[in-house]
Structure formats: C-alpha cells, structure tokens
C-alpha cells in the first residue's frame, strides 16, 4: 500500500522540476558553485595532494605514496582500525536495541511521559567533553563512584579506563548512554507514524502484546531503524571527542581509534602522514557505510 501511494505521485514533480531547472541562466548557479569550489572541492583535492608530501608548516616535499606506506606500518594502526570497527558496531547495535525498547516504553501510556522523554534526551544536549571528564572521575579505579558503589555490594570493580582490554568498552558504554536519547527520539517518531488501525485489527484477531510488537512495531519502524543504524555507525567510525577526553587512546595504544591515531600524528607535526590518515578514514567510512546504506535501503523497498 505504501508502495503504491509513495511512488506514483513522486515521478510527476521530479519531471516537472527538471524542466524548471533548465530555465535558470548559468550565472544563477555561480555563487553556489564558487562556494562549493572554494570550501569543498579545493580542500578535498589539496588534501589528497598533501597526503602525498612530507610537509611542515613551512615547506613540503613530494614523496609519493610513502605516507600511506608509513601509515599502514604504524604498529598501533591495526589496533586503531580494529577498535574503530568494534566501537562502531557495539555502540550502533546497542543504540538500536536500547533506543527501540525505550521508544516503546515512552510511546506507551506511562506516567509522566513528557518528563521521562525529556530526561532520556538530556544527555544528548550535554557537552561531550563535559561528559567525558565526569565519567573519568566516576570510573576512577579506587576513588570513583562506580567502584565505590560496587564495593558496597562486595564486588571488586575493575579499572574501567586503566585496564587495556576494558578501556574501549568503557568509553563505548558512555557513548551509548549519551547517544541513546537521539535514537529513542527517532524511534518514537517512527512508532508514532504507525497507524493505530493495525494494532486495533491485530487486537481483534487476538494477538498478544509481544506479537503486536514483533509483527507490527518492529517491521514498520524499519525506516527509523535504518536511520539510527546509519547515523550511529558513521558517528561511531569517526568518534573522537569522547575517546580523547577519557583515555587519549590509552593506556598505551589500547583504546586508540583511527581518529585519535590521526590526531596524534598531527600533534606530533607529521602533517603529511595525518593528511594521508584522513584520506584513509574517508575511504574507510565510504567503503563501510555506503554498502550498509544501500543494503538497508534495498531491504526497505521490498517491504
């Protein structure tokens, strides 16, 4: 049903729009083209060029692909790549599950719904750096609130940010807490768009609440799911602020992600190398996110 009403009228205005566009004279596009050229095209191509040089702020030497060779030789780069993917998958996966569950709760007739909705969205509005610094204090191995709380229960809390195996997951937990509000809001919008008739019809057929969730809410909030996965996956791939404020990629290199590896190269004055790293990050995001988006959108069409 959605397919029929969705596609038929859409072809009309798009054909009309194409006709209208050709009426604009060339100079009409010029301002936008200049802005686009200076602010987007030029930096993109010059960054590709600079990634092929060894440059200081004062001069540059062309060295071909050596920066890329060096970047892939970085011993902590592999660790950074693995961590980036782990971080993106863990955070986007958790945001989908938690966001959907919270959205179901917050679209139901729960008491003080408006207040609860605001509260779950609140962490999204707080500064990432502030959140990071707060959690560093809370996750302190001996004096932090979290481990002191665990101690009351007789549990010996781990070094959340100082255990090299745990650090990246501790940061991921904070990222989920901070970002789940946005996912919840998107899911709430998705659920609110599902017509009540379906639930009524299902109710008449005698479905259990779980069945209405499984067969109505879940499939029909698919567009929202696609949006949440895409947004949080790309966000996870390019995550930086939280990692940097909480662990600076440490201890050692154990919670480094690509963005923090690149930032450290830049800080150390390896400008060519870090530009090469950014080109790699751009390609990586494209390689992972574009097929994901195509796959998810194709599935949606079959609905």
């Amino acid at each position: 049903m959605a397919v029929i009403t969705g596609t038929a009228p859409r072809s009309m205005p798009s054909a009309a729009r194409r006709n209208i566009q050709s009426f604009y004279p060339a100079w009409f596009y010029l301002p936008a083209a200049i802005i686009y050229g200076i602010l987007y095209l030029l930096p993109t191509f010059s960054s590709v060029y600079f990634s092929l040089t060894r440059w200081t702020l004062f001069d540059s030497t062309f060295i071909g692909l050596e920066n890329f060779a060096q970047f892939f030789r970085e011993p902590f780069l592999i660790k950074g790549l693995v961590n980036t993917v782990i971080f993106a998958v863990v955070t986007s996966g958790s945001k989908v599950v938690l966001g959907l569950l919270l959205a179901v709760l917050l679209t139901s007739n729960v008491v003080a719904r408006g207040l609860l909705r605001s509260i779950v969205f609140f962490p999204v509005l707080v500064s990432t750096v502030g959140v990071g610094i707060t959690f560093v204090a809370m996750m302190h191995p001996t004096e932090g609130v979290i481990n002191e709380g665990l101690e009351l229960l007789g549990i010996d809390g781990p070094g959340w940010l100082t255990n090299p195996r745990l650090a990246i997951f501790s940061v991921a937990i904070v990222d989920i807490w901070k970002g789940v509000g946005l996912a919840t809001v998107i899911f709430m919008a998705g659920i609110a768009a599902i017509p009540q008739d379906y639930y009524d019809a299902a109710h008449v057929d005698g479905t259990s609440p779980f069945q209405s969730f499984r067969y109505i809410t879940l499939p029909l909030s698919r567009p929202a799911t696609v949006t949440v996965i895409t947004l949080s996956f790309i966000g996870g791939l390019r995550t930086f602020e939280l990692i940097w404020t909480m662990t600076r990629g440490g201890p050692g290199f154990s919670s480094d992600v690509i963005a923090s590896v690149i930032y450290k190269q830049y800080q150390a004055g390896f400008y060519g190398l870090s530009t090469a790293g950014n080109v790699v990050l751009f390609i990586l995001i494209a390689v992972l996110a574009v097929p994901l988006s195509i796959y998810l959108n194709r599935k949606e069409g079959h609905e």
Binding site: R54, T56, L57, F58, T61, Q70, R73, P75, F76, H140, P141, T142, E143, G159, L161, T162, N163, P164, R248, G249, G250, P251, G252, F253, S254, K264, Y266, Q267, A268, G269, F270, L273
Partner: protein
C-alpha cells in the same frame, strides 16, 4: 535587552577616552608575551613582567597563555607560520626548539651583550646554524628520583648509588607496607622519566651514543646500555612496586602521594620542586632528590634538562622593546624576580645570579652534581634533535606491563625514524 546597550556604549567611549589620554601622557609600547598555562610558567611570566614594568614604565606587557604539551607545540608552530606570534614567547629549548625552524622564524640574539653572561651549556641548546636565539627562562633542571625523607629516616635507608641498591630499598619499603615507586599515567608524559633520566648512565657507557643515534647508526633496541631504561621501568612494574592506581593517577596526585608519604619514590623532573612549594610549602623539607642510579656507584651522575627559553619571532614589530625584556631576564634583577615568583628550584645558568643560603633539601641534593668535579650530562633530547613523539605512550605500555621492554625499544626506534624523516635529517 536594548537598555543595557547604553551603559555599555558609554563604557566603551570612556575607555577609548581614557586610553587616548594615557597614550598622550607617555609613548607607551605595548608588547605581548605568550607563555604556557601551567601554574609555574604563568607565575614566572607574571613575576618577570611585573618587575620589568616597574623598571621600564614606558613598556607594557600583556601576557597570553597557551596549553602545554603537544597542543602547545601546535599553537606555537601555527602562530609562527602564520606570522601571528606574540612579541615574546616562552618555549622549550633543545629538540623542540630545533623543530620551529629558528633560522627563519626567530630574531638572532647572538650579538646581544648579555650573551656573555649565559652558561655555555644553555647556549648550545638554543643555537641553530651557529647562531643563538634564546635566553634561559628558568634555572637548570634535572631528571631523577624524588624521595620522601621521612620514610627513609623511619626505615633507616641510605640514598642509593646503584640501581640494585635502589631496588633493595624498594623491597624494604614494600615490606613496610608503603608504595615504593609512584607512577602517574593519566599524565602520560610522566611515564618517560625512568627512561629519560637514565641517559647519564647511557652516555657514561656509550659516550658517542647521541651522535650515532642522530646519524641512524645506533638504536635503542640494539644498544644494551640504552635498553636499560626500558628494562628498569619494566622491572619496577614486574616487582609490583607501583601504586595500585598508577593508571588513573595524575602528576598532581603523584606529588601529593610523595609529600604525604603515600609513596616513597617519584621519578620526576626537578621543576616539581616549584609545584610542591606552591601546593605543600610546609612539606618541602620532607622531600629529597637523587640522580637515577646506574650499574656503577663510582659513575653515579645526574641527567640535566635545560630550561625553556624566551624567544622573539622575526615577525615582531617591536623587536627593540622585546630585546629589552630579554636583557632584563638575563640580568641579576631578572633572576631575583624569578626567585621571588618560583623560589629556588635549581642552579642559575646566568652569571652573577646566586641562590639564597636556605634552599630546600631537594635543591641542596642537586647542587653537588653541578659543582666542580660533579657529574652531570644533558638529557638525550638536548644533544640530539630527534625525540619520537610516541615515547610517552610506549613507556606507559612498558610501565603497565602491556608491552615487554625489548619490543618497546624496537617500536620506539621506528617512531624515531619517522621523526628523523619528518625533520629531513640526512642518512634516514
């Protein structure tokens, strides 16, 4: 909203009026000075500027701050490259100084008359292409091991002259229920000390290490004497001598543990004396200092750090006034302002400047290494332009038991190679 504009405008108008009045009274020169935002550097800059302005009423200096560490390096490099640097700026000497392209970016100070009073060792670390570009902003520093004198007294310990004696002391301290060695890896730079302060011992065995290291002929991983720094850090971790929260504690926590007796030793640079004086003045007498011991008691000596410097960027429109400030810093009056701001933290590198008689024990412990017949050597970063930027992460790994010493040394050699290539050195 609209109402509040009027008083604001009136205020601006009054300010402009007042400014034009005072400009008419004196021909004031306005200078700007960029320093690091660390409490010590800021206090030093404020003390020097205050004393200088009192002596030179026609010059007014406004202090700006930048972050320390790698972010500060970026600020300095960017401002120099874009010609927007302040008239005077405070920055490291040695390898970091070499990385800001002094011959293009800085004003040559070789022929200033006060250069005759500057210690040769300091001139060497602010020299590029045979020309001198700086003036010592602080007293000489050293890297070594601070210790809590009360703990040493209670346990009847002697200041160690060899690494084995040091480890034996640690064992006794641990048996007495106190943390032997404080490590603070939240501030990653503090993890490098046991390696960097070992350099006196390296060069006493391999006198030409710095030169061969700079020329791509000597490596940490293949030079046993240089490897020892990594191994010593590893040994301290393996023996369980570190404080339990070493991964989460920071530099300030380390100082607190040291003065309060929560830990017996803290490997650190002696600028910490200034920080202890600022935060725990009454405990300054409880803290002593010794050089990082090596294998041979006869060869015990101290690894010395040259202080940061003040520089004038070539792009400054007020070079003459800025030079006046530098001349003041290099004079006994400047040293006095320094002492007043920071207190005695080490020997001066300016002739005619002396320390007061009542220096704290940690400074007193430093002085014999600087006297005639005393043994000291500059740290590696002052005799070679190459310092790998990832060292602090690598030493955190060794100190946390994540990476073994031998592997860490090889990894650091790789980091060094990258830095040498970026600097455009020959032979890499």
């Amino acid at each position: 909203m609209r109402m509040s504009f009027r008083p604001l405008l009136a205020g601006i108008a009054a300010g402009v009026f007042a400014a034009s009045l005072s400009a008419a009274a004196h021909a004031q020169t306005e200078l700007t000075l960029l320093t690091s935002s660390s409490p010590n550097s800021l206090k030093l800059a404020e003390g020097l500027v205050e004393a200088f302005e009192a002596a030179n009423p026609d010059i007014n200096i406004e202090i700006e701050t930048r972050p320390g560490g790698a972010e500060g390096d970026n600020t300095v490099k960017t401002r120099l490259a874009t010609g927007s640097m302040t008239d005077i700026f405070y920055y490291n000497s040695g390898s970091l100084f070499q990385a800001i392209n002094p011959q293009n970016n800085l004003v040559d100070l070789t022929d200033e008359p006060w250069q005759a009073d500057i210690h040769e060792n300091f001139k060497a670390v602010v020299t590029s292409g045979g020309r001198v570009y700086g003036v010592p902003a602080e007293t000489a520093m050293a890297g070594g091991i601070f210790y809590n004198r009360k703990i040493y007294e209670q346990l009847g310990l002697q200041v160690p002259k060899t690494w084995d004696e040091f480890m034996a002391n640690n064992e006794k301290i641990k048996a007495a229920g106190t943390t032997p060695v404080i490590q603070t890896y939240r501030d990653t730079w503090t993890s490098q000390l046991l390696l960097l302060a070992d350099y006196y011992n390296v060069q006493s065995v391999e006198p030409d290490f710095a030169e061969r290291y700079t020329n791509n002929q000597a490596k940490f991983a293949s030079t046993p004497a240089a490897m020892k720094g990594f191994e010593r850090l590893e040994a301290v971790h393996k023996a369980g001598y570190m404080n339990e929260d070493f991964g989460a504690a920071g530099y300030q926590d380390g100082l607190r543990m040291l003065v309060e007796g929560g830990g017996a030793h803290y490997p650190m640079l002696t600028f910490a004396i200034g920080a202890i004086r600022a935060t725990y003045p009454e405990k300054l007498g409880d803290v002593g200092f010794f050089a990082q011991p090596g294998d041979d008691a006869e060869k015990n000596g101290l690894t010395v750090w040259m202080p940061a410097s003040f520089y004038i960027p070539a792009a400054s429109p007020n070079v003459d006034a800025a030079k006046k400030f530098l001349a003041f810093v290099a004079s006994p009056a400047g040293c006095e302002a320094n002492l007043k701001a920071l207190g005695a933290t080490g020997p001066f590198l300016i002739k005619g400047c002396t320390l007061p008689a009542d220096v704290p024990p940690s400074v007193k412990d430093m002085l014999p290494y600087f006297e005639e017949g005393g043994r000291n050597a500059p740290a590696l970063e002052f005799v070679s332009p190459i310092k790998g930027p990832a060292l602090e992460q690598i030493t955190v790994e060794v100190g946390s038991g994540i990476r073994p010493a031998a592997e860490a040394a090889a990894l650091y050699d790789e980091d060094v190679r990258k830095q040498a290539q970026q600097l455009g050195l020959k032979g890499w």
